[in-house]
């Protein structure tokens, strides 16, 4: 620091210098404490939000990093996600995301899908003919593809480059079908803003921060594994 002494040092009145130095030391200690606390909290926290060392009777154990279970860092990284169980498909995700089109897309849980011929997530209610013509489609951007598999089953897949996350199909499927379509934040698109613009305006408070290593909240995968 010699150079700094030489060029950058500021000569201080000694009394003032003492006070300033003391204050500086205090602030540095505070900042250090803050950092240490943040680290401990982060290190001690289980994925489920409880203290990982909560099992041990005295919290003191947490102070020793050695006593702590080493969790993967990603376990404590949080990302935004919306809970389909709370979602009411208000359409806010389509308009409130800082990205256009939105980082919220419709995802299809095929395990829950009935593969119906008349899919209320795909067709306008009261569609006269069951063709994928514009007048019959519910999706405003035609982002759902309908493919015939075998009588009487049809597969429905989402083209995410077209999906704008308005949730109309989700509403239709929830109202009249098995509810296999749901809105989710796609994390390859989400910027993970410090404050999510959609969450702020979600009337259902369906958005929350979830651990980044399990970043999707699908409804229970009902179809999985028959007995």
């Amino acid at each position: 620091m010699a150079g700094i002494e030489k060029y950058g040092a500021v000569k201080l009145v000694t009394r003032r210098g003492f006070v300033v130095g003391a204050l500086r030391a205090l602030c540095l200690t505070l900042l250090g404490w803050l950092g240490g606390a943040a680290f401990l909290r982060w290190k001690c926290l289980g994925v489920d939000g409880t203290w990982a060392c909560g099992a041990c009777p005295d919290r003191a154990a947490c102070r020793f990093a050695a006593a702590l279970p080493s969790k993967p860092a990603s376990g404590r990284r949080m990302v935004w996600q919306l809970d389909p169980k709370k979602c009411i498909q208000c359409g806010g995700c389509a308009v409130n995301c800082v990205r256009q089109p939105s980082a919220v897309k419709c995802v299809h849980s095929f395990e829950m899908c009935g593969y119906c011929r008349l899919c209320f997530g795909f067709f306008q209610p009261g569609a006269k003919t069951l063709t994928s013509a514009a007048e019959n489609q519910l999706c405003p951007t035609g982002a759902i593809r309908r493919k015939f598999i075998e009588e009487p089953y049809y597969e429905y897949t989402i083209d995410e480059s077209l999906c704008i996350g308005c949730g109309r199909c989700v509403k239709g499927c929830a109202a009249f079908g098995n509810g296999s379509l749901m809105l989710q934040v796609r994390h390859d698109l989400c910027l993970n803003c410090n404050e999510c613009a959609i969450a702020r305006r979600c009337p259902a408070s369906a958005f929350s921060l979830v651990p980044a290593d399990r970043p999707y909240l699908f409804k229970p995968q009902a179809g999985k594994g028959q007995p």
Binding site: G114, F120, G177
Partner: protein
């Protein structure tokens, strides 16, 4: 001069600054656009003109978590729950109850008052006093019995996982599979996208079954031959809408039909040739309910509907005779 200019500039700058920030701050929180073009609530409204005049009586069984109801020839009401079966008389006063071997998913009473309780891959047969007589098993592990009916000499069980109807003789033997895929009339056989696959036994020993994915009711002879079918898909009141409807059916006096639907939760009446008669109760009467209520028709022609949320049985007495 210079200072004056500076002050002016600075003042202007500050003005712009404040204006910009005010613009930002005062911007009202954008409200989500109503996902226009899909007002599910509107679709679920019932046209009051179609509602059949009826009076409602509500009875409350003692058991909780009710899953199925049935009525015997005497008009006694049977309610099945995950714990067992409760028997009430036609006025709803408690008569008896017994515990079942497993949770009861569907319930039926044979003409000679044996209680058939279906669940999982088997049908348990109880005597009127609750003694377990025998158990019919489909022998197919994945099967899921969602409906059972007892005709005079056969027991039929609907299997929503295998998408077939099983027929047993009264001894529980000679299982016969009804309604498998056949190329011609019924291309895909039974289409069951979700767990709702109901049966009803006609007086003549023939069988009515729901084909929910195809939105129609299908008629089979007692020996399993497909006879006919009726019903069409659509949102209109006479039609069946959504995934897998009607969810439950029951046969009224004179072979007329009572159907119960999910999503748009409503109970409707059709005559014996499938002509729409009217709505007993529409979605307005089932607030917060999405599943279809199990239904039954008692000898007096009253329509019984199971209200799971209230853990009660609604009894609609239609003003107009059948």
């Amino acid at each position: 001069m210079k200072t004056f200019l500076n002050t002016a500039l600075a003042a202007g700058a500050v003005a712009v600054l404040i204006a910009a920030m005010y613009f930002l701050f005062s911007r009202p929180c954008r409200e989500p656009a109503c996902s226009a073009g899909y007002d599910a609530a509107a679709l679920k409204r019932t046209d009051p003109a179609l509602v059949l005049e009826s009076s409602l009586k509500i009875i409350r069984p003692r058991m909780t978590n009710l899953a199925a109801i049935a009525v015997d020839r005497g008009g006694n009401i049977y309610a099945g729950s995950d714990a067992g079966v409760e028997i009430l008389d036609s006025n709803g006063t408690h008569v008896a109850s017994f515990t079942a071997v497993g949770p009861v998913r569907c319930l039926a009473v044979t003409p000679d008052n044996l209680v058939l309780a279906g669940g999982g891959d088997s049908v348990a047969v109880y005597a009127g006093d609750g003694a377990l007589e025998k158990t019919f098993c489909t022998g197919a592990p994945e099967s899921m019995i969602t409906s059972v009916v007892g005709a005079s000499n056969f027991v039929f069980a609907a299997d929503c996982a295998r998408r077939v109807i099983w027929r047993f003789d009264r001894a529980g033997g000679a299982p016969l599979v009804i309604g498998e895929r056949d190329g011609d009339q019924r291309k895909a056989g039974f289409v069951v996208p979700s767990v709702s696959f109901d049966l009803a036994a006609a007086a003549d020993g023939s069988l009515w079954a729901v084909n929910p994915g195809e939105h129609r009711l299908e008629h089979f002879s007692g020996d399993g031959r497909f006879i006919s079918s009726w019903g069409k898909a659509g949102l209109a009141a006479p039609e069946f809408c959504g995934c897998c409807n009607p969810a439950h059916i029951a046969l009224g006096p004179g072979g007329s039909f009572v159907t119960s639907e999910k999503h748009i939760v409503r109970i409707k009446v059709y005559d014996k040739s499938g002509v729409f008669k009217g709505v007993v109760c529409g979605a307005e009467d089932w607030p917060g309910e999405a599943a279809a209520p199990d239904i039954a028709v008692d000898p007096a022609g009253r329509v019984l509907a199971l209200d799971r949320r209230a853990n009660a049985i609604r009894i609609y007495t239609l003003a107009t005779p059948w």
